[in-house]
Amino acid sequence: MSDATSIDHQLEAGFGDYFALLKPRVMSLVVFTALVGLVVAPVPMHPFVALVAITCIAVGGGASGALNMWWESDIDALMHRTRGRPIPSGRVAREEALAIGLTLSGFSVVMLWLATNAVAAGLLAFTIFFYAVIYTMLLKRRTPQNIVIGGAAGAFPPMVGWAAATGGVSLESALMFALTFAWTPPHFWALSLFVKGDYGRAGVPMLPEVAGRDATRRQILGYSVALALVSLALGLTSIGGPLYMTVAVAMNALFLRAAWRVARRSDADSDADRHLAERALFRLSLLYILLLFGALLAESSLKPLGLGGW
């Protein structure tokens, strides 16, 4: 019998398996928010340089996803949702994921530096370090506030985009960071209230399982209030304007009402109507981030016509 016949053909990786290491769905949010950060910045960029910058930020985000999958392959194998990922399914070796993660991290940071500036490259490097080391390796398995910490990593891209255009950090970019940062906990905890995860089996202390589902409901409301304050403050800066403010006021009113409904319910109420309020909050959170960042983009696009901004 030749060696070839003993190979399990299902375990041969295709290109899509390597691409899946980069967490493409997370990458789409990274691309969108980084693009907004870059476009709303007051310094114009050459479109090709902007395209390269966004590509670098997306690849850097993807690289941190690959490093995350390398480190977490043990718990990914235990959970139903992540069992089919390239490493636990056996199609990609852990060492390959590590090599891809490190290589793409290096390339994305250096290329962003060459294309734009050291501040943007430094911020991207810190984002990768924060997600891969501080969140994935050090804190995710130790604290039930892991979603909050992971959210910080996901909140950096608009700051990196802004830095790529301006070469610095400002109140506007810090508030865009704060917006995504405060948005992440209600978004994920709403999901965790109606999707039965098996994090407990994997030893990851998720808030609903550690602090209880009632505490999670209260924290969703707390972060939603913080989110409202941050998003309205962003509207008062140089990148805000009447259009953004209108969208922000309307969306925050809807979001706070949805979060209030979730906070006031018990698990029995939630089970009775198949988590209607929790599902509504989750769907609204997706629309919320899309519309608020979209409104910032619209304000910036209207400025040349003398319409956007205050």
Binding site: I7, G14, F15, V49, M111
Partner: protein
């Protein structure tokens, strides 16, 4: 000579090779495009000096300066 139809294994390897090829081509295009844009925006170091030197040399050639 007849080849056997591609096995799933070959299909996956081909997708890997074509994918990597596309990534490398895109990377090369990115470097090339970035070089053009940067050269246009910032200028090429030493280009102006070289132009002046060439112009001076051409002028010297027409006026006969520097000829033995």
């Amino acid at each position: 000579m007849r080849f056997h139809p591609d096995h799933e294994l070959h299909r996956r390897r081909a997708s890997r090779n074509y994918g990597l090829g596309a990534v490398l081509l895109a990377f090369a295009a990115m470097i090339f495009g970035l070089s053009l844009v940067k050269a246009r925006e910032n200028g090429v170091p030493g280009l102006e000096a070289a132009r002046q030197k060439a112009a001076a040399a051409a002028e010297a050639g027409t006026t006969g300066e520097g000829r033995p």
